[in-house]
């Protein structure tokens, strides 16, 4: 009985530790460290072509018959563009930028394909096409999707603004056009970015400590790596993806 009780008390403390892993705390970061790196592909991967499959002729007229997917943009040096790089849990650090996330429905594609939205700012969703789109943003939790917003944008130049509330990786889809897709990482701290055309990234102004950095790419998948950051110095963290 005593043992059971002790176990429960211990368990309670462990659980309360998790439950109270408090929200992100904003502090002054002076002389912080940074993480830089390059994300590469082990081998070239052909960029798949998207088929515009619709029974509405006006949509073909506007959006064509096919479009490059832009999924695998790999540089001559094998750098991978559009990899989301983020640290999900940071106890404290610099303030989040106040920056709205602009997502546009243009020629039956979402622009941009990949990006970072910040908690406390807004999603600003625009339809630039004279056809119906609905923008469905869904948080990916444990491999499952959970609708964050499903917005009707029936006409050209419709704009809808919604606050970024739930944080994490989101997939964006349009129910009228199954090929349409985008990825947004909704961040609760400012330590998130995407790789450039050479696969390079930098995350700045981190307090010294050990962090778990996640790399996500829609085609290659995701990986999380540990890195230790010292004050005033850049730590290097590279990753090479290979196609599964």
């Amino acid at each position: 009985m005593k043992k059971v009780l002790l176990l429960f008390v211990l368990l309670t403390f462990v659980l309360s530790g998790i439950a109270f892993a408090g929200p992100y705390e904003v502090v002054d970061v002076k002389g912080g460290g940074s993480i830089t790196g390059v994300v590469k592909a082990a081998a070239k991967v052909a960029d798949p072509v998207v088929k515009i499959e619709t029974t509405k002729p006006e949509e073909h007229q506007l959006c064509g018959m096919t479009a490059p997917s832009g999924m695998y943009e790999i540089s001559a040096g094998m750098g991978v563009k559009n990899v989301l790089v983020y640290i999900e849990e940071v106890p404290k650090g610099k303030a989040l930028p106040k920056m709205d996330y602009k997502l546009t429905n243009l020629k039956c594609q979402f622009t941009p394909l990949v990006g970072i939205a910040y908690s406390g700012s807004n999603f600003v969703v625009t339809n630039s096409d004279p056809v119906f789109h609905n923008t469905s943003i869904g948080l990916m939790v444990g491999g499952k999707r959970s609708t964050v917003y499903n917005l009707a944008l029936p006409g050209k130049d419709q704009v809808i603004t919604k606050p970024v509330r739930r944080t994490g990786l989101n997939s964006v889809k349009c129910d009228a056009h199954p090929w349409m897709r985008a990825w947004i990482y909704a961040a609760k701290n400012p330590y998130a970015t995407i790789t450039d055309a050479d696969g390079k990234y930098e995350i700045k102004d981190l307090l010294p400590g050990t962090y778990k950095v996640t790399f996500f790419h829609e085609g290659f998948g995701d990986v999380t790596k540990d890195v230790t950051v010292a004050a005033g110095k850049p730590a290097t963290l590279d990753h090479t993806f290979s196609k599964k």
Binding site: M1, V4, L5, F8, V9, L11, T12, F13, L15, S16, A19, F20, G22, T54, T55, K56, V131, F132, N134, T135, S136, G138, V141, K144, R145, S146, T147, V148, Y149, N150, L151, A152, L153, P154, G155, Q158, I160, K162, R165, R166, D175, A176, H177, P178
Partner: protein, 291 residues
């Protein structure tokens, strides 16, 4: 007799342990709060809070125990013991009058995504939304009503259903949308305006020109779980949540989260959504609801 007594004793000690753990939990929580806000002069307030927390936790515990028992008796067969919607009943196929076959997947309660709400898209359903669905059931879905249960029992089910998704503890409830039907809903003028909006909003893309759910996009739609779903057929009957004007209005306003039906709260004015109600009630042959 002894055999019968043993589990109940175990049960009592289990509850005692739980209460004790919760007490410690509350103290730890209160202490954490005090540490984070040392400037607060609230030592008395903290001890009062601890008492209140323990009391709430006690009530809550009894309610959840009842909810779990009822869930086991009435809901597990479809929604599964873990609430993931994969109960032994599995997926049910239904053929409509029109010949369309609909696949009915029991709701996965773990993602916290619900269609029938009185709050904006993306918001968690309010307790009263869940209570309404549990009480009335869902038409055409094999989700039965629970009118045989007392209110306390249905509320216990609501409380238990909310434990399946961490969203219910992590998020604040949203402001309720009031459906205030204007007197003119159902008038000729409103129906005409609604019909124009039905076209302008591109409803026919999914629901078809005649409302029978056979629009050019009707075969392209999947839900949050990746299951293929078909748009509502206005010609053969009732909305799942019920076809009252308020329910139709709420569907346009809130959208049906998890499905392909988006929210028109930002793309249509309130008045326009009511015009759409006038037209779609006519499509559904449900004008009697207006009398």
């Amino acid at each position: 007799m002894i055999v019968n007594k043993k589990p109940s004793l175990q049960c009592i000690s289990y509850i005692l342990i739980m209460v004790f753990s919760l007490l410690i939990f509350s103290i730890a929580a209160a202490e954490e709060g005090a540490l984070k806000a040392p400037q607060d002069d609230g030592k008395n307030a903290v001890s009062v809070d601890v008492k209140k927390d323990v009391q709430d936790a006690g009530n809550n515990e009894a309610q959840l125990t009842l909810g779990k028992k009822l869930f086991g008796e009435r809901c597990v067969v479809c929604h599964g013991a873990s609430g993931n919607g994969k109960g032994p009943a599995g997926v049910i196929k239904v053929m409509e009058k029109s010949g369309r076959v609909l696949e009915i997947h029991p709701r996965d309660l773990t993602s916290g995504t619900f269609k029938f709400r009185t709050v904006s898209t993306g918001c968690l359903p309010l307790d009263e939304d869940l209570l309404r669905t549990i009480t009335d059931g869902i038409l055409k879905s094999f989700m039965p009503d629970a009118k045989v249960l007392k209110l306390d029992e249905r509320k216990a089910l609501v409380a238990y259903v909310k434990t399946f998704s961490p969203r219910f503890t992590a998020e604040e409830p949203c402001k309720q949308i009031a459906a205030k039907m204007p007197k003119w809903v159902g008038s000729k003028d409103s129906i005409v305006k609604g019909e124009a909006l039905y076209k302008k909003m591109k409803c026919p893309d999914c629901h078809g020109n005649d409302g029978s759910g056979n629009g050019p996009k009707s075969n392209d739609i999947v839900d949050d779980w990746g299951n293929k779903i078909l748009p509502f057929n206005f010609r053969t009957g009732n909305l799942k949540r019920g076809s009252t004007p308020d329910n139709v209005y709420l569907t346009f306003t809130t959208g049906l989260d998890g499905s392909g039906m988006p929210s028109y709260e930002d793309s249509l004015k309130d008045e326009e959504r009511w015009n759409l109600v006038s037209f779609t009630l006519k499509l559904m042959n449900k004008a009697e609801y207006l009398k």
